[in-house]
């Protein structure tokens, strides 16, 4: 499951990348809504948000793009969006607009379960996914509570830290996910740090999905200087390599 930033370097290219990822057979795509102060993100995704915002990528333009593209794709699009943006729009308006724009749900990384009540209620009424996160620092009882209030899938954060490629993942990751699996019927997707086919082979048996962000965003970042066809081909090769590792 790829993550890409909307509007990096522009929304036309984002649309092209979405089509290509769909053609590769990705089961779902996370679309990052650029935000000025993303505290959970490492340098690669931060920089992509900065580039998108410098190009004046507005929420309305992002929705306009997905409204056009989403009906042509087999894979659902889920937005990754700060609560600052959701609140500013108004929760009900955000959900209604996103849904009308063909977006299936939202991951709101700065909305912990205690604060999620009002948004969860609206999402439920609108049949819009609100994917919640469990971190390595989450106590087990709390993880069960989060799993109960999440819809669509459960996002398991692989490492205590920010987004970004890592060579090694925690040794107890598979074990922790397996425990969580025994407590919820929701699909569990793992994200943060995953970038190599080896990671995919290692985690595929325990996860329903693996989220890869920075490694793809870093490749897309070159679209500013290099021919876009070449960048698109590079992203495709990289994603295909990971999907192959998933099947092996």
């Amino acid at each position: 499951m790829p993550f890409i930033t909307a509007g990096d370097p522009d929304l036309d290219f984002t649309a092209d990348v979405l089509k290509q990822l769909d053609a590769c057979g990705c089961p779902l795509c996370e679309l990052g809504i650029p935000y000025s102060d993303p505290i959970a993100d490492g340098p690669v995704i931060q920089a992509s948000y900065t580039r998108a915002l410098e190009r004046k990528t507005h929420l309305a333009d992002i929705f306009e793009m997905t409204r056009r593209i989403a009906p042509t794709l087999a894979m659902p699009i889920v937005s990754m969006v700060s609560y600052a943006i959701v609140f500013r729009r108004g929760i009900a308006s955000f959900v209604a607009e996103a849904r009308a724009a063909g977006i299936a749900g939202a991951i709101v990384p700065d909305l912990p379960v205690e604060e999620a009540g009002p948004m969860a209620q609206i999402c439920k009424q609108e049949d819009f996914g609100l994917i919640q996160l469990v971190a390595p620092t989450t106590p087990r009882e709390r993880a069960i509570r989060i799993a109960r209030s999440s819809t669509g899938f459960l996002y398991y954060v692989s490492v205590a830290g920010i987004t970004g490629e890592r060579t090694r993942l925690p040794a107890d990751l598979a074990e922790n996910v397996a425990w969580l699996r025994s407590r919820t019927s929701l699909p569990i997707c793992i994200g943060f740090g995953i970038s190599q086919p080896e990671h995919v082979r290692q985690l595929a048996p325990v996860a329903d999905g693996l989220i890869v962000g920075s490694a793809i965003v870093r490749r897309i970042a070159r679209a500013d200087q290099e021919p876009r066809d070449r960048v698109l081909a590079d992203v495709t090769d990289y994603v295909r390599g990971l999907l192959d590792a998933l099947k092996s």
Binding site: Y35, S36, D37, P38, I39, A40, D41, G42, Q46, T50, L53, H58, L59, S82, Y83, A84, I85, V86, F87, R88, R89, P109, D110, L111, P112, E114, E115, Q132, L133, V134, A135, P136, T137, T138, P139, R142, I146, V157, V159, A160, G161, I162
Partner: protein, 408 residues
């Protein structure tokens, strides 16, 4: 000093509630990774304030290491200059390290030890909180990393040097506006990865719960002392109390003691910068709107999509697009009036106080002084205006010289 300093701070009104809410404001909008650490901090804090040994340790440090109580000083020549109300200054500039920030960092450093953590991170704008954190860490033997925007590293160079002298590592932040807001982002990101071993000593009444409550309570010593000093020296409460507001920690500490005294007028002074245009000031209560920034719901400068707006102030400590949630609560409740003060008016007040009183105030504090001088001039001579002189201005001398040179 018979009464414990923090315990009384816990009784400041009924806020926040169990969810960290000051009315609708506050809360905890952070990544899940940080929630356990915030829960641990809150639990540890609540047990610490009930622990007489913790309170006695902090009280002793504030007395012998910081030099509390800080004096209440009658600025006679400044008052005469305006010809109106009497201006009294609560001299937080005379604390060890030259500002109110040390009140909070010693308290939080003690909490760090209680939590069994050995590493501290902090953000700083003007550098006063960075210096106060480096000082507390040197005192207790904790390792210390301070994040500071590159622009602030430049304009507050003396404080950077002081932090390093005390063994802290200063990491310049080169993202975004390279000021306080970005320093907080980087400190939060560090904390995401280091949360098991590290405590984040946040320097203002901002951020996710329980920080706005803890920082206010540790700073409440300012207001508590000042209120007692007014009663003892003047036989009555002041008519008005004025403090500058960036994130708002000195103001929260000062105001908290007077909130229940309905007859005392409370005024928070924000950085009005160059103009009222977005991007030219840092006055989020005066010109902003409710939104989410750095884990808290409060007034913030933002665009129509909820992206944080650019801000400006010549004072690094006020150059911040948000404000503590309790200030938003006080504003909406009408208990505190918030006013902007321009860069130029702050500089003018800095000069006037330097020449009439022999006090170099911090540029942040000069905003409060400017408003107090104006207010005093419009009031009768028997009125009393209390100003929180939150910090000293040595750190700003070079920057003021540079601004003067650029202007000529």
């Amino acid at each position: 000093m018979t009464e414990s300093m923090i315990h009384a701070g816990m009784q400041t009104g009924q806020v926040p509630d169990a969810m960290g809410r000051f009315g609708p404001y506050g809360g905890r909008y952070v990544p899940e990774t940080l929630v356990a650490a915030l829960d641990q901090l809150e639990t540890e804090y609540r047990s610490a304030v009930e622990d007489s040994l913790f309170r006695a340790t902090l009280d002793e440090l504030l007395r012998d290491f910081v030099g509390r109580p800080s004096p209440l000083y009658h600025a006679k020549r400044l008052s005469q200059h305006g010809g109106g109300a009497q201006i009294w200054l609560k001299r937080e500039d005379l604390n060890h390290t030259g500002a109110h920030k040390i009140n909070n960092t010693l308290g939080q450093a003690l909490l760090t030890l209680r939590m069994g953590k050995s590493r501290v991170i902090a953000e700083t704008g003007a550098g006063q909180h960075g210096v106060a954190t480096a000082t507390a860490c040197a005192h207790f033997g904790l390792s210390c990393v301070v994040y500071m925007g590159e622009e602030d590293v430049r304009r507050q160079a003396p404080n950077v040097f002081n932090m390093k002298l005390m063994g802290a590592e200063v990491r310049p932040v080169t993202t975004g506006s390279r000021t306080l807001r970005d320093a907080i982002n980087e400190a939060m990101r560090d904390w995401m990865s280091s949360v098991e071993s590290t405590h984040y000593i946040l320097g203002s009444v901002v951020g996710p719960h329980p920080f706005p409550m803890i920082v206010r309570d540790f700073q409440a010593v300012i207001g508590r002392e000042a209120r007692q000093q007014c009663l003892a020296r003047l036989g009555r409460l002041p008519d008005a109390v004025v403090a500058c507001v960036g994130g708002g920690s000195n103001a929260a500490g000062m105001f908290s003691a007077f909130i229940a005294d309905g007859q005392v007028e409370l005024v928070g002074v924000e950085a009005g910068g160059r103009s009222q245009q977005p991007g030219d000031h840092s006055a989020s209560l005066s010109y902003g709107s409710p939104g989410v920034l750095h884990g808290s719901f409060s007034y913030v400068m933002q665009d129509e999509d909820g992206q944080t707006g650019q801000v400006h102030s010549l004072s690094a400590g006020l150059d911040y697009p948000g404000v503590g949630p309790e200030h938003s609560f006080w504003k909406d409740a009408g208990r505190v009036q918030y006013q902007p003060c321009s860069d130029a008016a702050a500089l003018e007040a800095f000069d006037l106080v330097a020449r009439s009183e022999g006090i170099l105030s911090a540029l942040e504090t000069a905003h409060a002084l400017a408003h107090a001088i104006q207010l005093a001039a419009s009031r009768p001579k028997d009125q009393i205006i209390l100003v929180c002189l939150s910090g000293r201005g040595d750190k700003d001398a070079a920057e003021i010289a540079r601004l003067r040179q650029a202007a000529t």
